[in-house]
């Protein structure tokens, strides 16, 4: 049950040195930009850029390799599903049809479909490196401070901070309860039939949730006693002032977003059509 999860490791690189707020802002703008555009040129440029940033960050491959395999697997499934459900989506979007190969019935392989699915793939691949990088290089305890810095109310930032703080604790609780249940013969693994399995999971769920409710009472009583929420703002132990690199990163992301959006909508459509001028 020991699942690996992405986590921050202390290292020194220009990316690690950026403040959390800037990295968060960069990541959010990057995602929005990648969501808006379907322009192959923008996506390719952004993908190459993100790889370059990855190189600079000196993050080790083994820290995220397990997630990468998972992502690639899901991506493959998704691509297959897209094709199975709609083999002519590309033809519909780009308006032309260059058939390369015919399988059976409505399933043929067109250059347009290939290009369309390549674009979907590219869209994910521009976001994933940045998401991984953000998670791997940002100190979780700095994260709440960053959220607050970019304008999220400090109460909500604090809720996020509590969530991140308690994920390991609740995972441990879950394991303890699950082991205790197994010792009593309540099996949650796939050896059990579906109906029994659901019943057994709920046997673990109940104590987990009740202890968590108790925990909520304790924590909120403690926060209440320390007058949490009395002031309109609060300061954060882990907040850092912006340095030169932070301003540079901000300028860069604004330029990328503006440039990409301009280029995408310059010809009036989200999609970059390579089939038009043939």
């Amino acid at each position: 049950m020991k699942a690996k999860m992405l986590s921050y490791t202390r290292q020194d690189s220009p990316i690690h040195r950026l403040t959390g707020a800037v990295k968060l802002l960069f990541f959010v703008l990057w995602c929005v930009t990648a969501m808006i555009t379907y322009d192959t040129r923008c996506l390719l440029a952004m993908f190459v850029f993100s790889l370059a940033v990855f190189k600079i960050s000196k993050v080790k491959f083994r820290n995220f390799s397990f997630v990468l395999y998972l992502i690639l697997f899901f991506m493959l499934l998704n691509q297959l599903a897209v094709y199975l459900f709609s083999p002519a989506e590309g033809v519909k979007i780009y308006g032309t049809s260059h058939e390369l190969f015919h399988f059976a019935g409505r399933y043929n392989l067109t250059a347009e479909q290939l290009f369309y699915q390549f674009n979907i793939l590219l869209k994910y691949f521009t976001v994933i490196p940045m998401a991984l990088l953000f998670l791997l290089t940002t100190d979780p305890s700095e994260f709440a401070a960053s959220l607050n810095r970019i304008g999220v109310s400090y109460r909500i930032s604090y809720a996020v901070s509590i969530a991140m703080r308690y994920i390991p604790d609740i995972q441990r609780d879950f394991q303890n309860i699950a082991f205790a249940a197994q010792a009593r013969g309540i099996d949650m693994s796939k050896k059990e039939k579906l109906g029994a399995r659901i019943k057994n999971v709920s046997a673990v769920l109940m104590p987990l949730i009740l202890t968590s409710l108790q925990r909520i009472e304790t924590i909120s009583a403690a926060m209440e006693l320390r007058a949490f929420g009395h002031g309109r703002t609060r300061t954060w132990y882990n907040a850092r002032p912006f340095a030169k690199g932070d301003f540079l990163a901000l300028v860069l992301i604004v330029a990328i977003s503006a440039g990409s959006t301009l280029l995408t909508f310059y010809d009036g459509t989200r999609f970059y059509n390579i089939f038009l001028n043939r």
Binding site: V127, A159, V160, S220, G229
Partner: protein, 186 residues
Amino acid sequence: MRKGKGLSIITIVATGIGSALFVILGRFGSIPSGLPDTNIETTYALLALFAILYGPVAGLLIGLIGHTLKDAIFYGSPWFSWVIASAVVGLIIGLAARSIRIHDGEFGAKQIIRFNLIQVLANAIAWFVIAPVLDILIYAEPSNKVFTQGLVAGVSNIVTVAVLGTLLLLAYAKTRTKQGSLTKEA
């Protein structure tokens, strides 16, 4: 406990702990149903319970924060269309919190029906409409694919919440003292 403006402390803490639970149950508490790509997500039963216990704001935030963190930590990048759908589920179910009053230990047939009506509505809006439409808007995926996915996820979530969510609420109601449960001796 609520002090006019802003979130109350209990809502903040419930959001934090609820999100952490959402992450853990989302990762370890999902049971493959036998059909490809569809899991029985026990975590939505938890979301329903917390939404009923702590209200719409907590429900919305748990869906939003919990789902984002779960996707980010275990799968590397959040899938925003489904994150927003989760948040909507929490919000809508939370709106029923006031009319169910689980804190008073009252959870009989009437409340069970009310809870299930609202959860079916919430899941239907989120998975049959919001998630697929956002998938099309954001990722431009083929519409029949995303609507099929939404349909499967929605139905499986409705069944999960109907069974597990109701069970959890029943169990919780039993731990509360009923209002007016004391009788005066003659």
